[in-house]
Structures are given as C-alpha cells and as structure tokens.
Amino acid sequence: MLAEHNKKDQLKEDDLATGSDVLLETLGQQGVELVFGYPGGAVLPLYDAVYRQSFDNILVRHEQGAVHAAEGYAKATGKIGVVFVTSGPGATNAITGIADAMLDSIPLVVFTGQVGCAAIGKDAFQEVDILSITAPVTKQNYQVHDVKNLPKVIEEAFAVAVSGRSGPVVIDLPKNVASDSTSDKDDGKTDALYSIQQEEKLDEAMLSSIHEALLQAKKPLVLAGGGVIAADAVPELREFVHEFNFPVVSTLVSLGVLPANDSLFLGMGGMHGTYQANMAFYECDFLLNIGSRFDDRLATNAAEFAPNARIAHIDIDESELGKVITTEFPVRADARKALDWLTSNAKTRTRQEHKEWLQQLTDWRQQHPQNYETNEKQIKPQAVIEEVGRLTAGDATIVTDVGQHQMWAAQYYPFKRPRQIITSGGLGTMGFGLPAAIGAKLAVPEKEVVLFVGDGGIQMTVEELDVIREYKLNIKIIILNNKALGMVRQWQDLFYEKRRSQTIFSGQPNFIKLAHAYGIKSVKLSPKSWRKTLADVFAKNESALVEADIPELEQVYPMIAPGQPNQVMLGVD
C-alpha cells in the first residue's frame, strides 16, 4: 500500500550511487521497511534517493510527530524506529521526541540533515550544532564526514540502539556526504568502529542468593517494569511468578505484563496505582524488581519505600542498580536470562503457597477496589474506557497522551498483552499520543488502535490528523474533554487551594468540525446514548474522532501526594 503511495522512478543504471543511496541500501539491509520524516534543504539529496528508490517514507506534518510516530512503531514491535529530518529547525523540532525515547529506552535511529562540511561552524543557513544539543538525550550520536564511512556508522548506530538498554541514536548527515558519489565506497580503510560489548556472564551467585531469600520470604512481591517488555521476557516472567505464586505489580509502561484478570496481578503501582499494589510495597518482606528504574512516580518517597523488605533489583543497565533505592541484591542482567535461571532453579524446590499474604492482598483489593462514582446524567471518563475495553475485548493497542486521561486509561483498560500500552512514561510528553498512534497502527495494522487524549494534548500535535487521512489509517481517537488542562488543574485544586492558574480553557476549537476539516469522521457522545454511539464507531473499519464531554472537575484517584510514601493514598474510601 505504502510503496504505491510514492511515484516510482527506478534508479537508472548509469546513475552513480550517492551517499543517500548507500544510506537507504544499508537501511534495507537492517530490515527497515519504512521511515518517518519530513524534507528540507539539507536532506534534498536524501529525499531524492527516497523518490528514486520509492523508499517508504511516512510524511508527517511536524518533525516532533515523526519521532513520536517512530516511537509508537518501535514500542509496538520492539523494532528500531527510523526518522529523517532536515537540519536546523527540522532537527530541533525532533528533540522532544528524542528525549522522550531516551527516558523510555526506545530504540530509534534519527538522521538529521546538516549543512555541507565546508559550511559547518560558519552559521550557515539552517545550521545548528545538533551533536552538542542531542548529546544528553541520546545514547550515542555521530556526524559522518566521509561517505565511505556511512554504512559502518549506520550499522554501528543500529547495533547501539538495541544493545543492552535500548535508546535513541542520532546520525548527523552533512549535505555533501549525502550527495557524494560512492565510487570509492569500499576501499577497506573505513575507521575502526565500536564493537558491541560481549554480554557478561550471569551473576549466578547473586541470583542464587535471591532465590534463597525468596524461598524464605513470607510476603514476596515482584515489581515487573518496562525492562521485562523490552527484553521480550513476558512469557518467562509469567512462568516464573506462577511457578512460585508471586504477586506482581506493574509500572505504567509495563501494563500487560500480566493480564488484568490474573489473580496474581495487583495492578499498576505508584502515584495513581491501585490500593493493593501500593500497600503491597509497604507490607512486603521481599521485593524483586525486574527492569523498573524505581522512578519517583512509582517509588514516591525513596527513603520510605518498601520499608519492610529486602530488595533485589535485576536490570540490564548497571547504573540503575542502587541509583535511588539501596539494593541488597543487585544483578546486572538481561531480564529473560535472569528469569530463566530463577525458574529453572525453582523447579527443583517445593512451591510456596503464600496463602496468608495472597489473602491479605485479596482483602485489600476487595475492601478498596478501583472505583468511581457513576452518574447516568454524565459521561464518566472511566466508564468510557471500560466500555472501550469491552468493545475491543481488551485486545486493542492503547495509545495515550499525557494527563488525567492517561491515568484513567492505565487504571481502567483491561490490558492483557505486552506492547499493548503505548504512552509517554518518563518524559510525560503532551502531544505524544496522536503521532504515536500513527506509528503503532502502521507497525501492527491488524490490531485495533485506540488513542485516549485530552483536549489540551491533542492540540499539540493535531496536524498529524492529516497523516491519518492520507494513509487511511483506522485509528479511533477519543478526546476526553474536561475543558481544562486537567492533571495540572487537579494539582492546583489539591495543593494550591484551587487557584486554577492558566488551566481552564475559556473557549475551545470545535473538535468535531476540526476532524471534519481533516477528512476524518467525528462524533460527539451524548450522555443518553453514548454506549450505542461508541459501539457503532467500533463496528466500522475506519478512523473516527470521538469527543466525550466529561465532568470538568473529575479527579484521578487514588493519588499519592508528591513526596508521600506509597501507603499514604488520597481518595481511597
């Protein structure tokens, strides 16, 4: 479908291959099927090659959208997302997405155009020092000065993006390198480059101590973070916890690690996590963290976190071990290998029932279930999400933007598989959702893709609606409209005596007409018949923008006030 989208003009036999041709060829060898990008002066040679080779480029409407779309693509598949942007403003527009990928460990390779080598440093038109700008938000970055190094640099960048802890890599491509002919491409004298470090041996002694301690624990708890998803270790995790009867808490980005209805699953922990998950942190006597970085939205008060527990932490990135929480059993390891080891050793032991502990967790869940006040005259955001859960049988890819709707989606959608939630966790980037949904849909078209977004966030990258129209993508966009920057308003109400500074919109665009302007069907839900309308929307195989006016002052609960320990939750009845 996409290949036909661009006009085909085969590369003529007598054309000399340019650096750009080599670049695309190398991407092909890396298994790249499509890129997200936006043209400009410095990438004219690159886009000329894209044209000549009919390479699949998803033309976004803003470079930030290109990077978020590539993130959505990467999160949905585990593959590397690839981006092309031009120099100067094209590259700076990409920064937010690159930083987002850095914090959520998403593998990307972003090509930024650059002015020709001879002009660098002379304040040439659209020149910025993108290497310095991106250094703190990339795993690694490169500038290519000689076309003969290009394939090697690209190979290295792809290897770096996924080795160990994944992350974004930038390749800055001066215009002359992109257009230089490559007749002398392979003279065998390319610079020696990075070789991926050999994996270290598993620290079996430490794993074995963890194993022993776990067997003795009366109240064990497993915290399974994004690292479990990134390592494709979900089957191993499920086997491990069922073998041992260990209850599991997830983070925001690892929802789906266990199905929502699994009796061992306590839900998401942290600031807006479930009562039982946060109480479990407080009560447990052994906490095994696999692939979570103890973010401050999870361990809301590091000093008082899991005060009764011995703590083990398995992470692929050694610098995470002991970073915020002192850890008795630190292990630098791939989650899958570590889990495999723990499970195969477990099989030789008697299985623990942890009856009292599991009963305690069940009691907490029953005493304080995740709930909200229903009101038939209003459309409750939580009810909309639950209804979407039913209509999609809990199997849709759920993309969110950032804010209250993001937390309600995390709390009320019944996730059941890995890579099912696509959300901006670490950076909390408003504007992430819409383009990320595009990337997720292109990556896994057979899955229904639903975007939950706020009335604030949609306006940050709304231009990408045009991409949905152009490629006829089936994405259900659900705006939960509280006519406010709801999450900030919530904090103002709770901690700033309801001084709602700059968080209430005095007026709003007509979202229904806006969708119409982009050629996308749209519908507003009414309190009386919204379930029926929603069912109709989901019965159709085409995109739709659905607007739900929700109660303007609805709060996300439970909530742990910033700095409070996990067991101190607001809004629990």
Binding site: A135, N141, Q143, Y194, S319, G322, K323, T326
Partner: protein, 88 residues
C-alpha cells in the same frame, strides 16, 4: 570526597563533550583535568579531579560514565593525598 576519574575512551570528536556534560548536569565542577591521546591516535585518556559529596552519587556517576558507548574503561580513586591541601 575528592575523586580522580581516569577514563580510557575512543579518541573521537565530541567524546569529551559527552563526558563533561554528565558532570555539568550533576553540578559537579572539574577542578583539574589532563587529557592525552595515545600515540596511534586511536584512544584518549582523560583524568579529572572532581568533588562528589555522597558515596551513592559517586557510584552512580561511575556507572553512568562507564556505560558511555565511547568509554572503554574507567578507573576511579579517592584523592586522599590532597587531604592536607586545604581545599575542600
């Protein structure tokens, strides 16, 4: 505690920028530095003298530096021979 970090790294443009950026971000001042490349120009060795207040912070920084793609090895020693130098 005063520390001396010794990094062996790829000798390529920008590598020092990355390294000092890690210190800047943590508000760590470089008190002195010595940088030299190997005769074949492939590698560079950089020594920094810095002050890090907490042991936990030092351990984290050490690992963050070690994981940089261009950094091949890091040695870290507490600079106790400056104990009497009057600086703090």
């Amino acid at each position: 505690m005063h520390e001396i970090i010794e990094c062996k790294m790829k000798n390529r443009v920008g590598v020092l920028n990355r390294l000092t950026g890690l210190l800047t971000r943590r508000n760590i001042n470089i008190e002195s530095a010595l940088i030299a490349s190997t005769p074949d120009n492939q590698l560079a060795v950089a020594k920094f003298r810095i002050y890090v207040a907490q042991a936990q912070e030092r351990e984290h920084l050490k690992r963050v530096i070690a994981k940089q793609i261009d950094v091949l090895s890091v040695n870290w020693c507490t600079d106790d021979f400056t104990k009497n130098s009057g600086t703090n």
